[in-house]
Symmetry: C3
Subunit: 293 residues, 3 copies
């Protein structure tokens, strides 16, 4: 069994993962030693220190060891195909393989070639299912039931696997998802709202990181311009519901997609809770896939 | 006790290591927790993600922690001598030290300076004993007794520590080793066969990786030329014994020393079995050197 | 509770840490499993392989896992503030956070932002408290009581956090500390001795590493000149007490601040003992901060 996409998860699996993650988030002793002696290969073809550390911490809290492969600095770059690398890593017998890769479908390709569970930690612009699960956990911790809750996701929708996975998951939990961003960064098949329309009355606003490295388009923006037009400022947040909360998958570009003022509102920001829940969610995923629960 | 070269291993030690490695390969639970609380310093002065991960996985399956030093990205590069680094690492008290280094004799030099077992994970063009042991395990799993088996090792014999260690080990197990490769890459003291002579009737063909980074010579070959003259194609494999098997230490240069067609012959290729046996063999070595068995 | 500076440690805490470190140095089985299931985030914003490995080894010997963040090769470089990174790492729930950073006060800043103990593994030119503790352990192992012992610390006093932490710690244990170095590398508020005055009759000579990367000044020295004027040669060591010992925090620049002859005097050098005590000292610190002893 793998975790490749939100759509491949049953409603029961989602409920079980969120319930177990909630336990891990509440109790630092939960799960201790559960995966003792197991190993998780943490394979990052794109640099992402925070996600790699989150998986390593999740593995360690369960008693497993994460063995991290940073492909940026590895000999794997030297021309071996992803398929050959995957078969090789799989033959070493890890208990799970976590993969981040710039290519859409990479995790699915690898899953077909190895005997162990594969966890998609982000594949190109496609999916990032553990991020959506941790966001769902964060929102349900805060709101309880998500039925009827309005969640605005703002930014580069076109390239965001975070947006894609959340747009697949949150409606299944009853939430209304609204997507908005710069017109050039909205896919053709998405109904475009203006930023202000998306935020109006929203219960939660999830800002996406501006990832210029992933864009073919030049935004052509002057310094400060993105924030003015598409970023979350205090003025814009005032359009949302009175106690609306703010999420961000991190790392934040302060002064670009989020103003300092909003980033530092402790009463409204769930951003650090997301980070903590990231570890808890990945523990739940590793336990389910490796221990079979 | 160290593992520095094949020649320093007694026949009894070889037999014990192969027998124990076979158990580890067959049973994922074998050895679990055997080295709990122990640490292995995994010191790679040359980039080799797959060998470093293989040792880390071997350590982890025994319950030990591997602490990896990638010298490429480390402050160790800044002028400290190998001897000073070795004494320093040894003083930190690891239970074993795995060393890969571009310099012939590096592991032997380090072994004289530290109090813990040293495992040579490849020193220059000299030896790579765990690779030869895992190749021997792979061949004996497949053939049983190796007496009279003809093993062709093909490629850059001059620079290959894999060839050197295998040429030292396999004859001690009864096999006939035949070496062949481009004339400029055959040492003077080796009886040169043509590629086709070496493969004719062979029970196993072990292709070496073309490592242009290790060569002073320019092969001067056009694209595809190496494969035509010295690579393993289906035509050339047809010269071998009817059920001859194919080995490669990895990573493969597809279309250079091995054709796609041969690389993807599951019925004949033992290449992934070699990878799996690499972990099992390194477990046996670590257990013997650290736990004294 | 954190370990940010020597001055923040009580005399009782110093005595307890040194006593426990001495036990860890003497008995490889001491503390085994003491921090099982715990994780230590090993965050190095400056490259320091040896200190990072020392903390990792200390964590592992206690049964904890160190998860190392090498910021040099990480996405953390891409513009996130130290405060945001610190809050993020803290939210992942490590049991301790080890920080090396080029900025004075970095560890103190981080300690105010996270819920776990923070260990200063060197902040700019300010403090490196575990180095001073391991030096104190090394000296007390050798001399017993330090009262009245004369310790010369020689080199770039201005930029050396090692000197600063030792100058704060050793006098509290009764030692007389003498500081000397090139005039341009002595802070204005320090009473300058000549090198020879500082070494005359000293019981121990601690040489500092010349760290040209940390200097704004150009020393303007020809090859060999530093050694002649400010380095520890056999002639200069002869000015010290008859059985004076030599320390160095490593890695040594042979032929710069220390001559080969002196570096290789086993009867006088405590340099490798310092390395071994580094692991023992960091075990004591981790145990005290994480297990609350």
């Amino acid at each position: 069994m793998h975790l490749l996409s939100i759509s491949a998860l049953s409603d029961d699996a989602i409920a079980a993962l969120l319930a177990r993650a909630r336990e891990f988030a509440a109790d630092r002793e939960a799960g201790r030693g559960r995966l003792a002696g197991r190993t998780v290969f943490n394979c990052f073809y794109e640099n992402s220190t925070r996600t790699a550390m989150s998986f390593a911490q999740a593995a360690a809290r369960l008693g497993a060891q994460a063995i991290t492969l940073s492909v940026e600095h590895s000999s794997v770059k030297k021309g071996e195909t992803l398929a050959d690398t995957a078969r090789t890593l799989g033959a070493m017998g890890p208990d799970a393989l976590v993969l981040r890769h710039r290519q859409n479908g990479a995790a699915e390709e690898v899953a077909a070639l190895v005997d162990c569970p594969v966890i998609n930690a982000g594949d190109g612009t496609n999916e990032h299912p553990t991020q959506a699960l941790l966001d769902a956990l964060t929102l349900t911790q805060h709101f309880g039931d998500l039925h009827g809750r309005k969640i605005a996701i703002i930014g580069d929708i076109r390239h965001s696997r975070v947006a894609r996975s959340n747009a697949a998951l949150l409606p299944r939990l009853g939430a209304e998802v609204r997507l908005a961003g710069p017109p050039s960064l909205i896919p053709e098949d998405v109904t475009a709202l203006s930023i202000d329309e998306a935020i109006a009355g929203a219960d939660a606003v999830m800002m996406l990181r501006v990832q210029r490295e992933r864009m073919d388009e030049d935004l052509g923006d002057a310094p400060g311009e993105y924030l003015t037009h598409y970023g979350l400022t205090a003025e814009r947040l005032a359009l949302a519901a009175p106690d609306a909360v703010v999420l961000h998958p991190g790392p934040m570009n302060r002064g670009v997609e989020i103003s300092d003022e909003v980033a530092d509102l402790p009463a409204r920001s769930l951003i650090l809770r997301q980070v903590a829940n990231g570890v808890a969610t990945r523990m739940a995923v590793l336990e389910m896939l490796v221990a079979g629960l």
